[in-house]
C-alpha cells in the first residue's frame, strides 16, 4: 500500500470576521481587521476579561434552515453551516467516499449545562432526552455527516489549542491510508458563558492578572493571555488523482504531516524545553526548509504557548530566522477550535498564490 497524495479543494468558514468559502476567507485575511471586541453575548462586568471574537447571530441564522436551527444547538449550527459551505466550495460528492473529522476543545457545553439544569431544577422528570445526545462531543460531526451525506469514517478529536490543526492532520492520514477519497476537516467551538467566566476567574484569559491591558498580542513583550473566539472552519481534503479527475480546483497539496507529544504536566508549558523529536525537526530533516515561504503558529498571546513555540521554532528553523516568530491568526479571530483550520486554510491560500511551501505549526499547553 502506498500513501495517496492529499490536496485542499475547498473552504467553509463562519467566524467572527466573515462567513463563506475560500473567497470570504481570503477577503478577511487580506483585510486583516481584528474581530475581537467587548463580549456582547453575556455580562462580563464582574470579570477582569471582557473581550472576545463573537460570531454574529444574524449571519449564522442566514446560513441555516429555520426548522433545522430550532432542533440544533448553536455549536451544531456553526459546524453544520461551515461544513455545508466547504462542501459547496469544493463541490465534492457525498456518499461512501466522503468522511469528516471535527476538532473541538470544549464541545457542546451549553447542552451539558442545560441537561444538568433540568435535573437540578426538577429532578429526574426535568431531564430532556432531546438534549442528552448533544452532551457527547461527536454530536457536531453526526449532524454535519447527515447533512453532507458523509458515510466514510466520521472522527471527532478533542484537543486544547490545536483541535483544528489536528483534525486536518488526521483527515489527511485518512485519505493517505485509503479510508476515504475526500474528508471534510476542521474545528469548531462556541463562546460559552460558564467556560469564559471560569477561565477568566482562573486567570487563564488575557489579562491574566497582569497590569498590561487586555488583548491578544502573540509573541509581544506584553502578551498576557489569549482572547477567546468562536466559529467553525472546515476544509475539504481530497486524494489528488480523484480531485483532478473530477476537475476540482486544487488550492494546495498537504505534502506531509507530523505530530507528537512533549511529556509535560497537564495545562502547563515549558518555555525552555527543546524537544529533540519535535514534529518540525522531523519535517525539516525530511524535506529541508529552503523553500518555506511562511510559517503559521499557534501562539495566541498565552505566554506559556508563545514562548514555548518561539523557542521550539527558533531551534528547529535556526537557518530561517525570518520565519520566527510565526504568523498568528489569533488576533484576527480569537482562540477557538476552528483556529487551526483557519491557519491551514490561510496556508492553502498562500500556497495557491505561491511560490514556496507554507509551514503550519502548533503547540498546546500539556504538550
Amino acid at each position: 500500500m502506498t500513501d495517496r497524495r492529499v490536496v485542499v479543494t475547498g473552504v467553509g468558514t463562519i467566524n467572527a470576521s466573515t462567513a463563506g468559502g475560500r473567497d470570504a476567507l481570503a477577503g478577511a485575511l487580506a483585510l486583516g481587521r481584528s474581530a475581537i471586541g467587548p463580549v456582547r453575548g453575556f455580562d462580563t462586568a464582574s470579570l477582569a476579561s471582557r473581550l472576545a471574537a463573537e460570531v454574529d447571530d444574524a449571519t449564522l441564522a442566514s446560513l441555516i434552515d429555520r426548522d433545522a436551527a430550532r432542533r440544533l444547538s448553536r455549536i451544531c449550527r456553526l459546524a453544520l453551516a461551515a461544513c455545508v459551505l466547504a462542501v459547496r466550495d469544493a463541490d465534492v460528492p457525498s456518499g461512501a467516499g466522503l468522511g469528516i473529522v471535527v476538532g473541538t476543545e470544549y464541545g457542546d457545553f451549553t447542552s451539558s449545562r442545560d441537561f444538568a439544569h433540568g435535573f437540578l431544577n426538577r429532578g429526574p422528570g426535568g431531564l430532556s432526552p432531546m438534549i442528552f445526545p448533544n452532551t457527547v462531543m461527536n454530536t457536531m460531526a453526526a449532524i454535519a455527516a447527515i447533512a453532507i451525506g458523509a458515510k466514510a469514517p466520521s472522527v471527532t478529536v478533542n484537543q486544547a489549542t490545536l483541535a483544528g490543526d489536528l483534525a486536518v492532520a488526521r483527515g489527511a492520514r485518512m485519505i493517505a491510508d485509503g479510508h476515504a477519497a475526500a474528508v471534510v476537516v476542521g474545528g469548531v467551538d462556541e463562546l460559552f458563558q460558564e467556560v469564559y467566566q471560569r477561565l477568566a476567574e482562573m486567570g487563564a484569559l488575557s489579562p491574566m492578572r497582569s497590569r498590561a491591558p487586555e488583548g491578544c498580542r502573540p509573541f509581544a513583550d506584553d502578551h498576557n493571555g489569549p482572547v477567546l473566539g468562536e466559529g467553525a472552519t472546515f476544509l475539504v481534503l481530497e486524494e489528488l488523482e480523484s480531485a483532478r479527475a473530477r476537475g476540482a480546483r486544487v488550492m494546495a497539496e498537504i505534502v506531509e504531516t507530523a505530530w507528537g507529544n512533549v511529556p509535560t504536566a497537564p495545562h502547563t508549558g515549558r518555555a525552555t524545553r527543546i524537544d529533540e523529536r519535535s514534529p518540525v525537526a522531523r519535517l525539516i530533516r525530511s524535506r529541508g526548509d529552503a523553500d518555506v515561504a511562511r510559517c503559521y503558529g499557534a501562539g495566541n498571546g498565552d505566554p506559556a504557548v508563545d514562548d514555548w513555540e518561539r523557542a521550539l521554532l527558533g531551534r528547529d528553523l535556526r537557518a530561517r530566522t525570518d520565519l520566527v516568530p510565526p504568523h498568528s491568526l489569533a488576533p484576527l479571530f480569537g482562540q477557538h477550535g476552528g483556529l487551526g483550520a483557519l491557519r491551514v486554510g490561510a496556508a492553502a491560500l498562500d500556497a495557491e498564490r505561491g511560490p514556496g511551501t507554507v509551514l503550519v505549526h502548533g503547540i498546546a499547553r500539556g504538550g
Partner: protein, 406 residues
C-alpha cells in the same frame, strides 16, 4: 519540498494488554470473570440514583479504586486509565526509546465529568463557590491523554478520539493506521470512561436502561446496563516486535469504519453502516467471511441496536454463520471504553480458545438468527474473530483479530 513519502504497509500485532474493569485490576481478573460468565452489574453506589427507572451499573469496586496508586487529586477516569495503560506497557516489555517514541490514542467521552459534576452540583444546590472547581482542570476528555502522555513519558503522536460508544475501538484503528504507515513502531491505544451522572441520567431519560442486568439478544430485553472501565493495548509493528523478542497476543488483521449519516441516536434500521464497517474490516484482513469464527457483538440489549446488528451480521455472515456473544451482559456498556474492553475480550478468547458467553440470555429473539452463546463460555478453536462497536452519531467500527500463530 518533494511529494509524499511512500510507505510499505506493516503488519500490526497486539503486544501488550492492560485493563481496569468491574471485575478488578488486570487482565487476569478480567478474563477470569468473562470465562466464568460472572455478571458484574449491581446497584450503583457512587452516585445518587433515587427516582430513576434503572438503578444498576457495573462499577469498578471501591477496594479496587482504593488500591490504585494514582493521586486522589486525579479524576476517577484518569486513575483507571493510568493503571490500565501501565499494565499494558509493562506487559509489552517495551522499554527505553522504543517505549518513549510510542504514539498515544485515547478513546474518551466523559473525561473527568464525575468530579466536574460534584463541583457543579455543589454550586448549583448551595449557591456558593465550591473549592471543587479544581475539577474543571480534568473535565475534558483530552485530560486522559495529557495525564498518560506526561506520566508515561510518551513522545509519539497523541490524540483523543471522541466517537461516542465506538471511541475505544476507533482509538485502536486510528493508532494502527500510524503503525501501518511507519509513523510510529508502537502505539498505546484504548478507551476509558468512568460512570457519570450525565451519562446515567441521559440513558435513563432516553429509557434505554434495563432496570435489571441487561439481556442482549433476549426476546424480553429492555435496554442496556452502564459500566465503567479502562482498557489499553500496545500495538506494534510485527517485525519490530519479533526483532526485539516481544510476545504477540494476537494480530490486528483488519479494521473498518463507516458512518450511517442517518440519525443522531438511532442506528440505520437495516444496519447499512454496520455492514459497511464489517465488510471493510474483512476486506482489510483479506479473509473470507467464513474464516471469522466469532463476533464479539456491540450487543447493547436495546431493541434498535440488537435488531439492526443481527440484520447486519446476517448480511455479512449469513444466517447462523458465526458464533456471537455480548460482553456488555457481563461488564455493562463501558461507553468510550467499550470498544477496547470488548476488543480485549476478543483477543483473550482467541488466545484461550474459549468464547465468553452472553449472560442473562434465556430466550433468544427470533429475529436474531445466531447462536449467542447463552449463559456459559464455550470452547472453540477460532482462528479469526471480529469485534463490533457502534455509537451515537451512526459511528461504526469493526476490528478483526487473528491468533498470533495463525
Amino acid at each position: 519540498m518533494s511529494g509524499p513519502r511512500r510507505h510499505a504497509r506493516s503488519d500490526v500485532v497486539v503486544s501488550g494488554l492492560g485493563i481496569v474493569s468491574p471485575y478488578g485490576l488486570g487482565t487476569k481478573s478480567f478474563w477470569s470473570g468473562l470465562a466464568a460468565g460472572a455478571c458484574a452489574i449491581k446497584p450503583v453506589t457512587i452516585i445518587d440514583t433515587e427516582g430513576f427507572r434503572s438503578r444498576i451499573a457495573a462499577e469498578i469496586p471501591a477496594d479496587v479504586m482504593g488500591s490504585l496508586g494514582a493521586s486522589r487529586r486525579r479524576s476517577r477516569a484518569d486513575r483507571i486509565a493510568l493503571a490500565a495503560a501501565r499494565e499494558a506497557l509493562a506487559d509489552s516489555g517495551l522499554a527505553g526509546r522504543e517505549r518513549a517514541e510510542s504514539g498515544l490514542f485515547v478513546g474518551a467521552v466523559g473525561g473527568g465529568m464525575l468530579e466536574g459534576e460534584n463541583w457543579y452540583w455543589d454550586e448549583g444546590r448551595r449557591g456558593v463557590v465550591s473549592p471543587r472547581m479544581r475539577a474543571l482542570r480534568t473535565i475534558l476528555p483530552y485530560s486522559h491523554a495529557e495525564t498518560l502522555g506526561w506520566r508515561l513519558g510518551l513522545t509519539g503522536p497523541k490524540e483523543t478520539v471522541v466517537m461516542a460508544c465506538a471511541s475505544g475501538a476507533a482509538s485502536i484503528a486510528l493508532g494502527a493506521d500510524l503503525v501501518r504507515a511507519g509513523m510510529v513502531s508502537a502505539a498505546l491505544v484504548g478507551g476509558v470512561d468512568a460512570l457519570t451522572r450525565i451519562c446515567f441520567m441521559g440513558f435513563n431519560a432516553l429509557k434505554l436502561l434495563d432496570p435489571s442486568p441487561c439481556r442482549p439478544f433476549d426476546r424480553e430485553r429492555r435496554g442496556m446496563s452502564i459500566g465503567e472501565a479502562a482498557a489499553f493495548f500496545v500495538l506494534e509493528d510485527a517485525e519490530r516486535c519479533r526483532a526485539r523478542g516481544g510476545r504477540a497476543h494476537a494480530r490486528l488483521a483488519g479494521y473498518g469504519m463507516s458512518t450511517d449519516a442517518h440519525h443522531v441516536t438511532a442506528p440505520h434500521p437495516e444496519g447499512e453502516g454496520m455492514i459497511q464497517a464489517m465488510r471493510r474490516a474483512i476486506d482489510d484482513a483479506a479473509l473470507p467471511p467464513a474464516a471469522v469464527g466469532y463476533v464479539n457483538a456491540h450487543g447493547t440489549g436495546t431493541l434498535q441496536n440488537d435488531r439492526a446488528e443481527a440484520l447486519a451480521l446476517r448480511a455479512v455472515f449469513g444466517e447462523g454463520g458465526v458464533l456471537v456473544s455480548s460482553t456488555k451482559s457481563l461488564v455493562g456498556h463501558t461507553m468510550a471504553a467499550a470498544g477496547s474492553v470488548e476488543a480485549m475480550a476478543t483477543v483473550l478468547a482467541l488466545q484461550h480458545g474459549l468464547l465468553p458467553p452472553t449472560a442473562n440470555l434465556e430466550q433468544t429473539d427470533p429475529d436474531v438468527a445466531f447462536d449467542c452463546l447463552p449463559g456459559a463460555a464455550r470452547a472453540a478453536d477460532v482462528e479469526a474473530a471480529l469485534s463490533n462497536s457502534f455509537g451515537f452519531g451512526g459511528q461504526n467500527v469493526s476490528l478483526i483479530f487473528t491468533r498470533a500463530d495463525s
